[in-house]
Amino acid sequence: MLPVSSGAPAGRDAAACPDGGLLRLRWLAGAARFERALRRHAYALKANFNPDQPRVPAGEPGGGQWTSGGGGRATLIADEDGEGEAGQTDEGRAPLRITIYPRDFADESEPLSGWPFVDFVLRDLLPSDLLRLDPPPKVPARRPETTRQRNRVAKQVAYWAARSALRISGGPLGIVITLAEAAIWLHEMYPAIQSYQDPPKSLEDSQKAVASREKGYDVHHIVEEDAARKAGFPEHWINGPDNLVRIPRLKYWQVTGWYMTPNKEFDGLSPRSYLVEKDWVERQRVGIVALKLFGVLKP
């Protein structure tokens, strides 16, 4: 929520200051228009907006909501008012519902101006479930200035959501995250947060998925692209269908980070350096093992 939306106090200010009142009102009207445009933009971005994406049929729980419709992945809802029906996962289990929403917002008419953070609210959970969860991360109400800071928040939310699902349901199923406008900036990170909740997929499905682009996912080279090119492997191997998989963005960053960092098991070399002297088959083998052990591919 933008600080400019504090209509009532600003109106009082304007009335109390007749000389600047007109200017102030004009400024407020412009700010309100800007805020509405921002909201429209955010909703267009919501849930990887795609007009062809299926919706839950009317009359069913969550009727009219977007649904991903496959693979046990959770339905993603990003309502303007934080309301909405969660529905069920493909496995028929009630999803864990996480609302990124200020705790007191629903009970108070005052907007959020000046709030440094937005709290999570967990709904539809038993008290015994809540006891098993770590405290949720803090989401800054204002958009952090740097990409690194924004990514950090997205990762904290995604990791915490995945951890919570594991502790409550024992698996990465049924996460529904509902965004309120209070954390409007987080919409841009939403696809990456949601895709991180995907259960592991088969190698074949991940390879086939390369043909379709989707926000929140990246195409990953099982045998690292640059290193393979430096080693002189043919281009049709490097960018061939066997070597490409589409994986959740945050997983892609995790695996890439692991490849680039020195590691005890490779005698202080990074996995990337360790593999420099290896042939294609060994690089591919290590690459697939890594994807399995980082929870991207099914074991």
Partner: protein
């Protein structure tokens, strides 16, 4: 990292230093700061070498970090103690892998895989 300053520290202080570096490394990993994470890897390595050089190989003192609340600390401690407490260290790594909290779970899994493959022979 130069080990010159480390030799003045007690074993207990070295364990504390190890945990602090690992926590810092956890933050660097969360930020995808590869350079910082790499620097901290070598700082952890220096502490481990210092403990190894102490009479009786004091790396066993790091086993107490298996119960640390930070997952990266547990991971780095488990890897550092594989040579001196192989069974307990493997169990700690397996526990981290089973927790499925990434990226540490993936790193632990790759370490176990490298051990089983004979790629990693802890000394």
């Amino acid at each position: 990292m130069r080990r010159d300053g480390l030799h003045r520290l007690s074993v207990e202080e070295l364990v504390e230093r190890f945990a602090a570096f690992a926590v810092e490394r956890d933050e660097a990993i969360l930020d995808d700061d590869i350079a910082k994470s790499s620097r901290l890897f070598w700082k952890l390595d220096a502490v481990e070498k210092e403990l190894k050089a102490r009479p009786g190989d004091q790396r066993t003192a790091l086993c107490q970090l298996y119960a640390h609340r930070n997952l990266q600390v547990r991971l780095d401690a488990a890897k550092a103690t594989l040579a001196v407490a192989p069974k307990a260290a493997r169990d700690a790594l397996q526990s981290i892998q089973n927790a499925r909290e990434y990226p540490q779970a993936g790193d632990a899994g790759m370490c176990l895989w490298a051990l089983d493959e004979g790629i990693f022979k802890p000394t």
